[in-house]
């Protein structure tokens, strides 16, 4: 209890917060102008920003559940950062609203003829109303997870002894077990609705896992960047040690590999099966400029970070790890672009389906969403102490960081 004041977030976060809002606000105005001229492209770019930044929020819920289940010092030092990221969920829901309103302007399946086999087969499930209702349900379920875990963590801070604090930790841990299963199911349903249905005739059962792994990777990279920034300032310079970054770096390495594993599995299965309703997805993405992006992803989303993260020194230096984190986050954005942009469009502007299209709004929308998201995130981060001050394992977690 007495320690809470000692772990308040540094005041310079306030400056970053204003800066993020300023940049985000300008980009949002630019995007709004773009929407006026080309709603379909604007919404598709917005979806890119939504999936990327919202993915950090939703990925943080997964990592928060994960760290309650596994325990360990890394979980304690990133807990408050990812909790703040999960508390951005109301904002992420607001950012979903343009997509809900513009569902018929963005998704090709809302314009398919009534005799299309997917329309006949999917029936009421694939109608805009059902789609919006499902998304609302996903947000409610994610919201319950984020609310309960954040609430227990906040109540833990208010206790005055470790026995009471351990009780709340126990609630969170018991809740996390079954919730992990539900989380994986909702993410799968959500990304199938939000991203996979952009191409109504293509399907992959691997799709949810691409996002579970990818979003968790985004969450780790983002947390490492934030922690590296905080580690140079009081109070976190008293908490964070080399070994915490070493551990987080190992988890980044693992998730880079898992991302590659899931993506390659999907590719290998479709490549081996070689049946027309599946291969179209990769045929589009292996042609022309899309093909170069695919190769770039293999090299820079997998090989390059993988080889660097093998090195112990890179994982132990906060600045290097954070630089690599920013690089991977950029590649995450490219990966999301590669998943979203080549899908069929309602109005192709005479270019033919699957032609390489990159719009200025693909840059502006992620900046707009990101600026506003970061503004909200920093606000949430500053509200609570930067470490769970009453957690019974806090002292040993801090000690762990000081070791070799």
């Amino acid at each position: 209890m007495a320690d809470i004041g000692n772990y308040q977030a540094p005041a310079d976060l306030g400056r970053l917060r204003t800066l993020a809002l300023g940049i985000g606000g300008i980009a949002l105005i630019a995007w709004a102008v773009g929407y006026f001229f080309s709603p379909e492209q604007a919404l598709r770019s917005w979806l890119l920003g939504f999936i990327f930044w919202g993915g950090i929020s939703i990925g943080s819920i997964g990592v928060l559940i994960l760290q309650y289940l596994t325990g360990g010092a890394w979980g304690l030092v990133i807990r408050r950062t990812i909790e703040a990221a999960t508390r951005t969920l109301p904002l992420v829901f607001l950012m979903f609203l343009p997509l809900a309103i513009g569902v018929t302007q963005l998704y090709e399946w809302t314009h398919l003829p009534a005799d299309d086999y997917t329309v006949i087969h999917r029936g009421w499930y694939m109608t805009p109303v059902a789609w919006i209702l499902r998304s609302v349900i996903y947000f409610i379920l994610f919201g319950i997870m984020a609310y309960l875990l954040n609430n227990w963590s906040a109540q833990q801070d208010k206790t005055d002894n470790h026995e009471d604090a351990a009780k709340f930790l126990g609630y969170a841990t018991a809740f996390s077990g079954p919730t992990m299963v539900i989380y994986a199911l909702i993410v799968t349903f959500a990304v199938v609705d939000w991203v996979m249905t952009l191409d109504p005739h293509w399907f992959s059962t691997m799709f949810g896992f691409l996002f579970i792994a990818g979003w968790a990777l985004s969450c780790f990279c983002f947390s490492v960047v934030i922690l590296a920034y905080l580690s140079e300032r009081s109070p976190m310079n008293r908490v964070l040690g080399k070994r915490h970054f070493h551990d987080l770096g190992k988890l980044m390495l693992a998730l880079v590999m898992v991302w590659a594993y899931f993506n390659f599995s999907q590719f290998l299965i479709i490549w081996s099966g070689n049946i027309p309703e599946e291969t179209g997805y990769y045929l589009t993405r292996m042609k022309g400029a899309w093909g170069y992006i695919g190769v770039a992803l293999v090299l820079f989303h997998f090989a390059f970070p993988y080889l660097l993260l093998l090195k112990r020194d890179i994982k132990r230096k906060a600045k290097w790890l954070a630089s690599l984190g920013i690089f991977i986050l950029l590649m995450r954005l490219v990966d999301m672009f590669y998943l979203i942009a080549p899908n069929p469009r309602i109005d192709t502007h005479g270019l033919g389906q699957g032609a390489f299209v990159i719009s200025w709004m693909d840059f502006v929308a992620p900046v707009a969403v990101g600026g506003i998201w970061l503004w909200y995130f920093f606000g949430q981060l500053m509200k609570r102490p930067l470490v769970p001050v009453m957690d019974p394992f806090l002292d040993s977690a801090i000690e762990h960081g000081k070791g070799h």
């Binding site: 390659f264 590719f267 290998l268 490549w271 081996s272 070689n274 093998l310 070791g403 070799h404």
Partner: protein
């Protein structure tokens, strides 16, 4: 003094004393030294000036060898030795080679890690002179030991012995070969 001497051994009561002594021994210029304790002491590597192991590089080399071997094996089998048309795909179909090449990468990296570790440690080693000191058995329980080998270029029996006694050990032993 006809029997061969392996080195000198000092016994300490606490890990702090051991680390301090190890630091002084290194600063005095001794290089062929070793320390023994009932549990790992993190500062020890730095105190004795032990360099980081080259094992990670060996493991990486093992992994790369496995990868190349895996791809090479499949290219040889599917393209050179016994070309077989599978579903009209090219003989060299890299995607289908990946799982096996990946497994071989892990296998050889794992083998290199285990056997490389044993090799670099000098294990298995059925005999070691330090066990000739009866009290050394306490190294697994509560005492901390520091050894300077006679093979050390700076080793000089009388000088080294008085140097070790200056480190305030419980006792200094001669370790027979």
């Amino acid at each position: 003094m006809e029997k061969n001497l392996y080195g000198l051994m000092a016994e300490f009561d606490t890990p702090t004393q051991l680390v301090d002594a190890a630091r002084k021994v290194r600063e005095a210029g001794y290089t062929k030294t070793d320390a023994f304790s009932p549990f790992p002491i993190h500062e020890m590597d730095e105190a004795l000036g032990i360099r980081r192991s080259i094992l990670p590089y060996l493991v990486f080399g093992g992994g790369v060898t496995g990868l190349l071997l895996g791809i090479g094996l499949q290219v040889f089998v599917h393209y050179i030795d016994y070309p077989l048309n599978v579903g009209g795909r090219p003989y060299i179909s890299i995607p289908s080679f990946v799982p096996a090449a990946y497994e071989l990468t892990i296998l050889l990296a794992g083998f290199t890690a285990v056997f490389g570790m044993l090799f670099l440690n000098g294990l298995p080693r059925p005999y070691h002179p330090v066990f000739n000191v009866p009290r050394f058995a306490l190294a697994t329980r509560e005492k901390f030991f520091l050894v300077i080998e006679t093979a050390d270029p700076k080793f000089e029996y009388d000088d080294s012995k008085s140097f070790m006694e200056s480190l305030n050990p419980q006792e200094v032993f001669d370790v027979d070969e």
